[in-house]
Symmetry: C2
Subunit: 418 residues, 2 copies
């Protein structure tokens, strides 16, 4: 069995060094490579200068047996990766007919005139193997040179993702006889990483040596990824799945989904399955709760609308919050947020409703109610539940955390059937 | 005059290579270094392994005269940058009393028990100069070794930003006698990069050799950054400012602000200055318009609320859109969105109102109204204006673009005085 290669990711472009663009490609590639069990040894971002690209290639091949390159394949004059690679591998650019046909087809479909620079996208170094790019005009290029694999991809994220998923990862698995790896993702919410770890410590400790558990925290919860690598025994995936019932029991109500799915999507599926409609009333979240819910395609099937009641007048007029409640308890109180949820349910004509009110900061805090004081409520035909908590990590994060907690409150309280 | 050094940015952490964390620190550092005229030669992300950090340090000093390192300074066992650096520079860790006092002070303030690992944060290599970290417990460390400067900073973004801004950049300017550079940022909206470039081509061409203009595009507009570097003549900034009146004329109504300020913030300042209140009615933007507006601290002074009318019932019931309008023109029409804006203004009791309606996709398009068909409207006491356009770059971007266009419509139509 050949040893698994280390991988170097090389991203090319002055815009990365100037900080005009944040390199998100590397993180995607790192994640996908980890999933098939390949280790990234280093990520290097280099300029558009030919001599510096060549120097970086020389160094990368000292460190890694696979070098994945993105950027510098566009039609403009700054993009010279292709020319540099042809020279680096002692080759020359030749026309790749299938790529030309593909580029022509794209221009025909969009009814755009094809310029000479577009035609040049079909030129590739003679000694590379083309990795077909169905979603763009710049082809991927696979080189093998003295035992090292070099792959060049465009830097446009959705094109890079297509090439990685459809072309590069499968070829790497085959080329290096990478043993199958299986992943199971379990989504949790409402429990921090260390508490979660405590809750499943002995379950995790008892995992076989070829099973690994990764904690992937996000604001408000943790994704768990169980990875099983080949141990020569059959039925790898089934053996992993056999461990899940116990994990589910341990996670209890913190587990909200299995697989790659967001909380707002899971909540939407619950609403759909139960035939319930949702409305929201938002103060501190200022529309972000509705935005998260509506970011899911098809959400119009269960989401009817939101009343963002930033001003107290709107809370009374549009949501029916009693002036006496506001006067006695203030806008940021469980009493007010309960009336907001109940009002939203009635005004928006929905089965269930969520409401938020809090002090997002940076100003507006008092000794009684410091910045980060948050109230949320959920209402349905059976009644209303509310929660109060403090979370202060700056305005933006406070609001994002509130949205997660509100969606979780809905998930926990949704009636099983209507 | 010494030559300006090249800079290498080195980010340390397995989480970067696994893609669990996107490296945003490098982009910030690249931007700030560019602003003082220093070039980043390469960005390298490396693992938490001591031998690989050392190998990367050896290579970085071949390429650059300044190596800025982030990550690996926390209190946990994985964070070993400090130990590696001490060994690399043939030094040993010693207690830095001012840092210890600072760490103790932080724990006292937060009333947390101080553990031994926290005390160890005050250990630094004997041969470094400490760069004070007022916003965290891990100090910055400045080394000079055979003419190369190495600076180590924590990877926590707000701590790194503090250290860069307050400590590292000023010291680099002094150490390398970096000549002053001046920047003027001009914000535009509503015109693409190439059209903008055309409009100011001859103005740009006539710039003195030491003045450079950078186009920094975002979804819906372009930031322009004029950079002036020292040419030995006095009054650099004044000479740059003297060019602005002509630029302002060329940009016309596309210019919305000067300086580092977002469109939603500029719009908020206009509303504040004119003493006007704003409400919104949102269909396709689903709350994002209100969220952007309320992401600005202090927005409660002018923003009263939003009615997110995702379902048509809400459009009629809460915003007073006529059923006949919906029936005749559909929800995505200038007619409907005008009534939404007018309804929001009345229902929310505001001086002005914005409304959005569109087909965000991926589904819901028709031959007449394909995905990406967007209508926006602005209403005030004088009347209502609306726009219709097509923008189809996927659900999320369609919605973001709509928000920008709506804010711009408000900016263009806001009455000078009420």
């Amino acid at each position: 069995m050949p040893q698994l290669p280390d991988v170097e990711i090389m991203t090319i472009g002055d815009e990365l060094l100037y900080g005009q663009v944040i390199d998100t490609n590397s993180a995607f590639m790192g994640q996908e490579l980890a999933k098939i069990g390949l280790r990234v040894r280093q990520i290097s971002s280099v300029s558009d200068r030919a001599d510096e690209i060549v120097a970086a290639l020389d160094q990368a091949r000292q460190r890694a047996q696979v070098v994945l390159i993105t950027g510098g394949l566009g039609p403009t004059k700054d993009d010279l990766t292709k020319h540099v690679l042809a020279r680096y591998f002692g080759s020359e650019l030749v026309l790749h007919e299938p790529t030309l046909a593909h580029v022509e087809d794209i221009f025909r479909r969009f009814k755009r005139p094809m310029l000479d620079v577009n035609r040049q996208q079909a030129l590739v170094p003679a000694n590379c193997e083309v990795v077909f790019n169905a979603v763009g005009t710049a082809p991927g290029m696979w080189f093998e040179d003295q035992g090292t694999v070099f792959v060049s991809m465009p830097g446009v994220p959705h094109e890079m993702k297509y090439l990685m998923t459809e072309g590069v990862l499968p070829r790497l698995q085959q080329r290096f006889q990478v043993k199958p790896i299986e992943h199971i993702v379990v989504q949790t919410v409402g429990l921090g990483e260390s508490f979660l770890a405590e809750q499943i410590a002995d379950w995790e400790a008892a995992l076989p040596a070829n099973f690994k558990l990764a904690y992937l925290p996000y604001l408000g919860g943790v994704r768990l990824r169980l990875t099983g690598s080949d141990d020569g025994q059959p039925h790898l995936r089934q053996r992993m799945e056999a461990l899940l019932p116990e994990l589910r029991t341990r996670l209890g109500e913190h587990l909200f989904a299995e697989g790659e799915i967001k909380l707002e999507e899971a909540v939407g599926q619950l609403l759909l399955a139960r035939g319930l409609t949702l409305g929201t009333a938002e103060s501190c979240t200022g529309g972000l709760l509705a935005h998260k819910i509506t970011s899911i395609p098809g959400s119009s099937a269960y989401f009817r609308g939101s009343i963002v009641a930033y001003h107290n007048d709107i809370k009374t007029r549009e949501l029916g919050v009693l002036p006496a409640t506001l006067a006695a308890f203030g806008a940021v109180s469980e009493e007010t947020v309960r009336e907001m949820a109940e009002g939203a349910r009635i005004r928006l004509g929905t089965d269930v409703a969520l409401a938020t009110s809090g002090i997002a900061g940076p100003d507006g805090g008092t000794p009684d109610k410091p910045v980060g004081t948050i109230c949320i409520a959920y209402a349905d035909a059976r009644g209303t539940v509310s929660r109060k908590f403090t979370f202060n990590r700056g305005r933006q994060l406070n609001v994002e955390y509130t949205v997660t907690m509100a969606l979780n409150l809905l998930r926990q309280n949704l009636p099983a059937t209507e």
